[in-house]
C-alpha cells in the first residue's frame, strides 16, 4: 500500500516513495538493494508516484510493489510481460516498471518477457535473479548453475542455465544491463539509466537469496563481478554485448553495467490508435465519433 502524497506539486523525495508496508523479505535478501536503488532512481528522475505503476508477478521478489509508493499491480506468476504491454499502451504517460523473479520472468513468464521486449515499449523490467525459487522454498530455477543442488535437484542441476542478457538482447530490448545488489550506488545508477531510457530496458539484478541459495552468495558475486565501464566495452555494439554476456559461462567472470543501449522507435509511438490522440485514458470511454468507419461496409 502506498503512502499518501501530501505535497502534490512539490519535488518528490524519498518519503514520497515510502510505503506503509515494511518489506517482508528475509534480512540480507538481495531484493532490499533493488528496492532502494529503484527508489533512488525514481527520486533522481523526479517521477511522480501517481503516474508510476510497478507490475510484478508472484515470488518473494514480486512483493516489491507493496514496499514502494505509487500504483502497483501484483499479478500472477509469470505475467509481468503482458501487464507492461497493456498498461503502457493504455496510458503512455505512465512510468511503467516490471519487477519479479528469475523463475517468474525466465521460467513460466519467458514468453511474455520476450514479446514485451521485442515491442520496445518504453518500460523497464528488472529481474531479481537469485538463481533459485525463493517463495516456494528453494527449487531449481532457469538460471541455476550446473551442479547447483536444490530441493528439486538434490543431485545437482543438470540443465544449462539460461543467459538472461543474451535472451534480452536477442528479444530486441534496446537497453540491457546487469547490476549487483551488493553495490547499491552502482545499482541506483543503472536503474536511473534504465528508467530514463526511452524503450524497453532490461535489468538482470544479481540479487542473492540468503536463505535458499548457498551457492550464488554475495561472496560468489563479489569474487566475479567487474564493471563494464572500466573496460573498452562499446554498448552500441550488439556483438560485443553478446560476447560480454557469455563471460560468466566462458570465463567465470560476471560483467555488470550497461551491455547494450540503442535508440529505436517505441511501440506506443507507432501504435495506430495513437495517430490521432495521446492517451485513450484522457479521451475517455466515449461513443464513436464516426459511425461510417464502423458500419459503412455493412450495407
Amino acid at each position: 500500500m502506498a503512502a499518501v502524497s501530501q505535497k502534490v506539486d512539490l519535488k518528490f523525495s524519498n518519503s514520497d516513495w515510502k510505503s506503509e508496508v515494511k518489506p517482508t523479505w528475509c534480512p540480507g535478501c538481495g531484493d532490499y538493494g533493488v528496492l532502494s536503488a529503484t527508489k533512488k532512481a525514481l527520486v533522481k528522475l523526479q517521477r511522480d508516484p501517481k503516474d508510476t505503476v510497478v507490475a510484478s508477478g508472484i515470488g518473494c521478489s514480486s512483493n516489491f510493489p507493496h514496499f514502494l509508493g505509487g500504483y502497483g499491480i501484483h499479478t500472477l506468476h509469470g505475467r509481468i510481460g503482458p501487464y507492461l504491454t497493456s498498461i503502457k499502451l493504455t496510458n503512455p504517460k505512465l512510468t511503467v516498471i516490471g519487477a519479479g523473479g528469475d523463475g517468474d520472468g525466465l521460467g513460466i513468464g519467458i514468453g511474455g518477457l520476450i514479446h514485451a521486449a521485442r515491442r520496445n515499449l518504453d518500460v523497464t523490467y528488472v529481474i531479481m535473479d537469485n538463481q533459485i525459487y525463493g517463495l516456494t522454498t528453494g527449487q531449481t530455477s532457469p538460471t541455476s548453475r550446473i551442479g547447483h543442488k536444490t530441493k528439486s535437484t538434490p543431485e545437482g542441476n543438470i540443465e544449462n542455465p539460461l543467459n538472461p542478457i543474451a535472451v534480452a538482447l536477442s528479444a530486441g530490448a534496446t537497453f540491457v544491463a546487469r547490476a549487483f545488489s551488493g553495490d547499491g550506488k552502482h545499482f541506483a545508477q543503472i536503474m536511473e539509466a534504465a528508467i530514463a531510457h526511452k524503450g524497453f530496458s532490461f535489468v538482470d539484478a544479481l540479487s542473492p537469496c540468503v536463505t535458499f541459495n548457498k551457492f550464488n552468495t554475495y561472496d560468489y558475486f563479489r569474487e566475479r563481478v567487474y564493471n563494464l565501464d572500466e573496460t573498452d566495452h562499446d554498448k552500441t555494439d550488439i556483438l560485443m554485448a553478446y560476447q560480454r554476456a557469455y563471460d560468466w559461462d566462458h570465463n567465470d567472470k560476471v560483467p555488470v553495467g550497461i551491455y547494450y543501449q540503442v535508440s529505436k522507435p517505441t511501440y506506443e509511438d507507432r501504435e495506430p490508435a495513437y495517430k490521432t490522440e495521446e492517451s485513450i485514458i484522457e479521451r475517455g470511454a466515449i461513443r464513436p465519433r464516426n459511425y461510417d468507419d464502423l458500419i459503412g461496409h455493412l450495407y
Partner: protein
C-alpha cells in the same frame, strides 16, 4: 396454383475453399438486402485453406428471417461434392446450376433429386469472354440467380460497382458484362422460381452484419478502449473487425503472443482505466482462466468473449456447439464474482457489447460473454441500431485527484453494495496495489506474514463477503427471464433454451403453432448470477399443470439443464440435443419436440 409460389428466397452456393464461395454469398445477400428484404446468411466450411467443401446459404424474405433455412430453392454447385452434400436439401421444383465443362464435373456424380431441375450452364465459357480469371464464373452464375429469382439486375450492377470501386473501371466493367450475360442466359434458357416476395428498391437497406461483428460493434459503441486477442476460429472476426474498424475509433487493438497473455493484458488495461475486452474460443478461454480469477480478486473490470466451436480439445474448429458452458462456469479457482451472459441473437450483440462493458465497470468484475460459431459467424439484416439505447456507465470510477477529506483512500472499502470507489493510475493520492493475493481494504496483503492471525481471518471473511455481495446486487439489476408465447394454463409445451438458439426456437414455435401446437418459450441469457427463484417457479408451474417441458441445447450433456437443476433443483428430463457440429434447424426442433409430445 398459389401453392407453387414460395414466400421466401432460399439460395445456396457451394464449392471448394478458394472458389470464392463466401464472397459470392455475401454479394447475393447484399443484393437481397438492397432489394428491401430481410436476410439470413450462413456459411459452412472446414479448417483448410484450399479444397474441402464449403457453402454459403442465403435466406431472404419480407419477414424477419432469423434462422437458417432447411431447404434450398436454387443451388449453385461449383464442384461435384455439391450433389452429395447440398443437393439432398433441395426443395421440389428447385434448381441446381452447375458447369460440367468449366469445372469438370463427371456425369456419374450428378444426382438429381426428385422434381429438381438440374441445369448445366456454361458459366466458365461465358466468363472467359471477359476475363482470364476463373472466379468471374461466379459473377456469371450470380447473374443467373438474380434472373431466376426475378430480382432487379440494376441492384446487382450497383453492388458490383461498390464491391470493386477500389479496383477501377476495367474490373467493374468486366464484372458487369459477365454478370449481364449470365443474367440473360438464364432468362432465355430457364423459367424463374415462382415466389411472392415483394421487393422494395426505394427503402434504405438494413445493416447486414455477423454475430461476431455485431458484438464488436457493440463494444466500440460502448466505449471500448483496449482489445487484446489471439486468433482462433470462430472468434477471430471480432478481433479482425476491431483491427480494421475499431482502431479508427481510437481503440488500441493488440494481438498478443498467446491467450494467457491476452487475458492478462486485458486485466492490465482494465486496471489502468481502459474499458477492456477480448474474444476467443474454447481452447483460448481455457488458457485465460487464471487471469479471469485475478480480475475477480482484484476487482478489475474486464470482458471475456467466448465464441464456442465443436469440442473437446481442438475438436471441430469450423463447426458449432454450445459445449463450453461448464468451462465458463468452472473457470478459475475459488469463489469470485463474475457475470456470465449468453448472446441471444445477432442484433443482441450490438447492445450486449455495451451492456457487458457496463456491468464489468459498474460491478468491477470480469464479465464472460458466451456465443458460438453459428451465432458468431452467421449474418443477418438487423434493424438500425439505437446507438444511445444503453448509456455508457462507468460506476464508481474516480478520475479526479483525491482531496484531503477523501483520505485515507481504501481501494477495497467495505460498502453496502460491495462495490468500492476505484482510482486508476494518474489519480493523485489514490495510489494502491491491486493484488492477486487476499488483501485488506487498503490492498495490503494478508496472505503472507499475517495469514492466520485473528485480524486476518476477519478481513478475509469481510473481503470475501464484499466481493460476493456484488453478485446479489447485480442479480437484482438483471432482467429475469419471462415466458414467451402461451401461458402455462394455455400451453402444450414449454421449450427451454439459452443463448444462440433463441431465434431458431422461435421459428420452430411458429411452425408448431401453425400445426395447432400451443408453445411457450423460456430462454436464458443471464447465467451468472442466475435467476434461480424465477426460473424454478416457471418450471414448477408448467410441471404442476401437466405440461411437457423440453430442453433444447447444442451439446451432448445438456449443460444448461444441469445448471438449471443445480440452481433450482428442477430436473428437465426431456431434451432435444444436437452435437454433430452443424447449425440447429427449426425443423429439427419441431421433430424433436413432437416426439416428446407423443
Amino acid at each position: 396454383m398459389s401453392e407453387e409460389y414460395v414466400n421466401e428466397i432460399s439460395f445456396r452456393i457451394s464449392g471448394r475453399n478458394g472458389d470464392g464461395i463466401f464472397s459470392a454469398g455475401d454479394v447475393f445477400s447484399k443484393i437481397c438486402s438492397r432489394s428491401g428484404l430481410n436476410v439470413h446468411g450462413y456459411r459452412s466450411y472446414q479448417s483448410v485453406i484450399r479444397g474441402g467443401h464449403v457453402n454459403y446459404s442465403v435466406r431472404a424474405a419480407n419477414w424477419e428471417v432469423r434462422a437458417p433455412a432447411d431447404h434450398i430453392d436454387i443451388l449453385i454447385s461449383i464442384r461435384e461434392d455439391g450433389f452429395l452434400v447440398d443437393a439432398p436439401m433441395m426443395s421440389k421444383n428447385g434448381i441446381i446450376l452447375y458447369d460440367s465443362k468449366g469445372f469438370r464435373i463427371k456425369q456419374d456424380k450428378i444426382v438429381v433429386p426428385e422434381g429438381v431441375k438440374v441445369v448445366d450452364m456454361p458459366a466458365a465459357e461465358i466468363a472467359a469472354k471477359y476475363s482470364d480469371l476463373k472466379i468471374i464464373a461466379n459473377t456469371v452464375l450470380i447473374g443467373a440467380v438474380v434472373a431466376l429469382f426475378d430480382l432487379d439486375f440494376g441492384v446487382y450492377e450497383k453492388m458490383i460497382r461498390d464491391q470493386f470501386s477500389h479496383k477501377g473501371d476495367e474490373t467493374i466493367n468486366v464484372n458487369i458484362s459477365a454478370a449481364k450475360e449470365g443474367y440473360e442466359w438464364a432468362k432465355s434458357h430457364m423459367e424463374p422460381i415462382k415466389h411472392n416476395v415483394k421487393l422494395d428498391l426505394t427503402k434504405k437497406p438494413k445493416m447486414f452484419i455477423g454475430g461476431n461483428e455485431a458484438l464488436a460493434l457493440g463494444l466500440v459503441n460502448g466505449g471500448l478502449q483496449f482489445f487484446g486477442w489471439y486468433p482462433m476460429t470462430p472468434a477471430s472476426p471480432v478481433g479482425q473487425y476491431l483491427a480494421a474498424h475499431g482502431v479508427k475509433a481510437g481503440v488500441v487493438v493488440k494481438q498478443m503472443e498467446d491467450e494467457i497473455n491476452v487475458a492478462n493484458s486485458v486485466v492490465g488495461a482494465g486496471f489502468a482505466g481502459a474499458r477492456a475486452a477480448t474474444a476467443t474460443s474454447g481452447g483460448g478461454f481455457a488458457l485465460m482462466t487464471e487471469a479471469i480469477g485475478f480480475a475477480g480478486m482484484a476487482e478489475i473490470p474486464t470482458v471475456f468473449i467466448e465464441v464456442a466451436r465443436g469440442g473437446p480439445s481442438t475438436g471441430l474448429p469450423t463447426k458449432t456447439e454450445q459445449g463450453d458452458l461448464r468451462q465458463a462456469l468452472g473457470a478459475s479457482q475459488g469463489d469470485y464474482p463474475r457475470a456470465i451472459i449468453a448472446q441471444t441473437s445477432v442484433e443482441d450483440g450490438v447492445y450486449l457489447g455495451t451492456e457487458a462493458l457496463n456491468i464489468a465497470e459498474k460491478y468491477q468484475m470480469p464479465v464472460i460473454v458466451l456465443s458460438d460459431l453459428y451465432l458468431g459467424e452467421h449474418f443477418e439484416t438487423i434493424p438500425e441500431p439505437e446507438w444511445d439505447r444503453i448509456p455508457i456507465e462507468r460506476g464508481k470510477l474516480i478520475l479526479e485527484d483525491l482531496t484531503e477529506d477523501q483520505l485515507p483512500y481504501k481501494r477495497f472499502l467495505l460498502t453496502e453494495d460491495g462495490i468500492s470507489p476505484r482510482t486508476i493510475p494518474g489519480v493523485a493520492n489514490g495510489q494502491y496495489d491491486a493484488g492477486s493475493d487476499e488483501h485488506d481494504e487498503y490492498g495490503k496483503l494478508i496472505s503472507d506474514v499475517r495469514a492466520g492471525y485473528p485480524d486476518s481471518i476477519v478481513i478475509r471473511k469481510q473481503q470475501m463477503n464484499k466481493r460476493m455481495k456484488k453478485m446479489e446486487v447485480l442479480l437484482k439489476e438483471l432482467p429475469a427471464p419471462v415466458v414467451e408465447g402461451h401461458s402455462a394454463d394455455d400451453s402444450d409445451v414449454l421449450i427451454v433454451g439459452w443463448g444462440s438458439t433463441y431465434d431458431t426456437i422461435a421459428e420452430a414455435r411458429s411452425h408448431m403453432e401453425k400445426e395447432g401446437i400451443k408453445t411457450s418459450q423460456l430462454h436464458i441469457k443471464y447465467i451468472e448470477p442466475f435467476h434461480s427463484d424465477e426460473i424454478g417457479k416457471i418450471l414448477r408451474e408448467f410441471e404442476e399443470k401437466g405440461k411437457t417441458i423440453v430442453m433444447v441445447e447444442v451439446n451432448y450433456t445438456a449443460q444448461m439443464a444441469k445448471h438449471i437443476r443445480g440452481e433450482t433443483g428442477f430436473n428437465i428430463e426431456k431434451k432435444v440435443l444436437k452435437y454433430d457440429g452443424e447449425a440447429l434447424l427449426a425443423s429439427e426442433i419441431v421433430a424433436g419436440v413432437k416426439e416428446h409430445l407423443g
